[in-house]
């Protein structure tokens, strides 16, 4: 049996989702992958619960406490920064699920560096560090012969990087484009189908929980731009950061424009694109109704153009607690298979 010790830093929606999946899939991990994963530390913004003594923490108890906002009441809770716990606690893998800060990349970047410094592989759902410091962090991981995995950062549960790594070997990725943000796709679909204004569709998205109270990251294309940066670095080897993306959001798109496009055989979608010439852009685009990228609701879709397999399309759920956790545990299993 492979014994793997992990630390979860960031215990919000995604961190708790990972804890739930590790609990529910424990038998499959042991039976199918011959692996026993023990979580020895869990940190949120207030501090950490650490237990390096035995079989690992009781994740069900931690999720319950966190849901009741009583995480700090755990008997092993101590005030400590995530980065300090990462450096000091003995473990193999860091699961980094702190919130995204697209401007500074923190606290993710500090957490990544602490993990690499102390010899831990990193799995993340946090776009911030990668959108700001991709090459630096990947370089550091390689220098230390460690893995840095980020399947959950782009299109949640939809496999993108693992698809390319495991299914498109030897292919040269020429260009990538797609719907990288489910919130904007939900809004644009609503505007077309119900013939409502952008404001009404946004309000409904907020009521249904697809959009945040402050929807700026989504509707201004910032979230999609961060994903474009990660795709450009990881799939096309372009040394790009957030400032290199030309970004236009969907706030000016009107119901009349949706209807006109529809009458001429098109839909309007917010598309993130890395073109063959290497330019990075997020903007509303006309997509023919019959095109595979015309997916509805909050779905994400990606078109990968390669020299050998030509066009490859992936469609899936771009967000959600368990969907994102699926991407994280997929990275976890891959690291276990390769490194343990």
């Amino acid at each position: 049996m492979k014994n793997v010790k992990a630390i979860i830093v960031g215990f919000g929606v995604v961190g708790k989702g990972v804890a739930k999946v590790l609990q529910t899939k424990r038998k499959e991990l042991e039976h199918d992958y011959n692996a026993k994963v023990s979580v020895v530390a869990v940190c949120n913004s207030k501090g950490c619960v650490i237990d390096e003594s035995g079989a690992g923490l009781d994740l069900e108890e931690l999720v319950e406490l966190a849901d009741k906002k009583k995480f700090e009441s755990h008997k092993k809770f101590q005030k400590m920064k995530g980065a300090d716990a990462i450096e000091s606690v003995k473990a193999d893998i860091l699961i980094e699920a702190t919130p995204t800060d697209i401007k500074t990349g923190e606290p993710g970047t500090a957490n990544f560096l602490a993990a690499f410094k102390s010899g831990k592989h990193v799995i993340t759902s946090n776009k911030g560090p990668l959108a700001v410091n991709f090459q630096k962090l990947m370089g550091e991981a390689k220098r230390k012969n460690l893995e840095m995995r980020f399947e959950a950062t782009v299109c949640g549960g939809m496999p993108v990087f693992s698809l390319v790594r495991n299914g498109l070997q030897l292919n040269k990725i020429k260009s990538v484009r797609g719907i990288l943000n489910g919130t904007t796709n939900f809004i644009l679909t609503k505007m077309l189908e119900d013939k409502v204004s952008f404001e009404s569709a946004l309000k409904e998205a907020q009521e249904l929980g697809y959009a945040e109270a402050d929807p700026t990251y989504d509707i201004e294309g910032i979230d999609a731009a961060a994903k474009v940066v990660i795709l450009a670095n990881a799939l096309l080897g372009i040394n790009a950061s957030f400032k290199d993306v030309k970004v236009t959001g969907i706030t000016k798109v009107t119901a009349e424009a949706m209807e006109l496009a529809n009458s001429q055989g098109f839909v309007i979608k917010l598309i993130g694109e890395i073109s063959e010439s290497g330019s990075l852009e997020v903007s509303p685009r006309l997509i023919p109704k019959v095109h595979p990228l015309n997916v509805k609701g909050s779905l994400n879709a990606l078109q990968i153009d390669t020299d050998l397999a030509k066009e490859v399309f992936v469609v899936g759920r771009g967000a959600g607690q368990i969907e994102t956790a699926s991407a994280i545990v997929s990275d976890l299993v891959d690291i276990i298979n390769r490194r343990f």
Binding site: K252, T254, S263, L286
Partner: protein
């Protein structure tokens, strides 16, 4: 003799094919074969892609043929001895903002100056005070694509229009 291949977008109407053959024979072209791709037709009253293979004496005769042929048919591709001389593409764009108030004719003229032919222009205005929108289908030689994108970018900034392209 040059071996030539032309891809035309022909109106699906009686006589359209015959009209397109006249400039070829008129400039000494010897037609080898014609493929009328009806299965790729754009629907009733639409257009049918048509490929014509022919031989012609030299490039100057081909240039004259091209000029006359473009008056009666839309040339999408033209090659001689396997070398591509022309490849057209169609791109649809949607302009969103005060399209009419910012001089729609000037917008179209500047796109044409950059090398585009406007094939379709559909305007939607719901209220004169609110933003309007127009969907334009542009035909262009592939090599003019980047200059046309630059012109669109400039127009967008200058006139405050949101450009949504394919």
């Amino acid at each position: 003799m040059l071996k030539c291949r032309v891809l035309l977008r022909l109106k699906d109407a009686p006589g359209a094919l015959v009209e397109s053959l006249k400039p070829i024979s008129g400039h000494g072209g010897n037609i080898q074969n014609i493929t009328h791709l009806r299965e790729n037709s754009e629907g009733e009253g639409g257009f049918v892609p048509t490929i014509i293979n022919f031989e012609i004496s030299d490039l100057s005769a081909l240039e004259a043929l091209k000029a006359d042929l473009s008056k009666v048919a839309q040339i999408r591709e033209l090659s001689a001895d396997g070398k591509k001389l022309l490849k057209k593409k169609s791109v649809s764009i949607l302009l969103l903002g005060h399209v009419m108030d910012t001089d729609a004719k000037n917008t179209l003229d500047r796109l044409m100056d950059a090398g585009a032919d406007a094939r379709n222009f559909t305007l939607s205005i719901s209220d004169s005070k609110k933003p309007s929108c127009a969907l334009i289908t542009l035909d262009m030689d592939e090599k003019n694509f980047d200059p046309i994108l630059s012109a669109l970018d400039k127009l967008s900034k200058e006139k405050g229009l949101l450009v949504i392209r394919e």
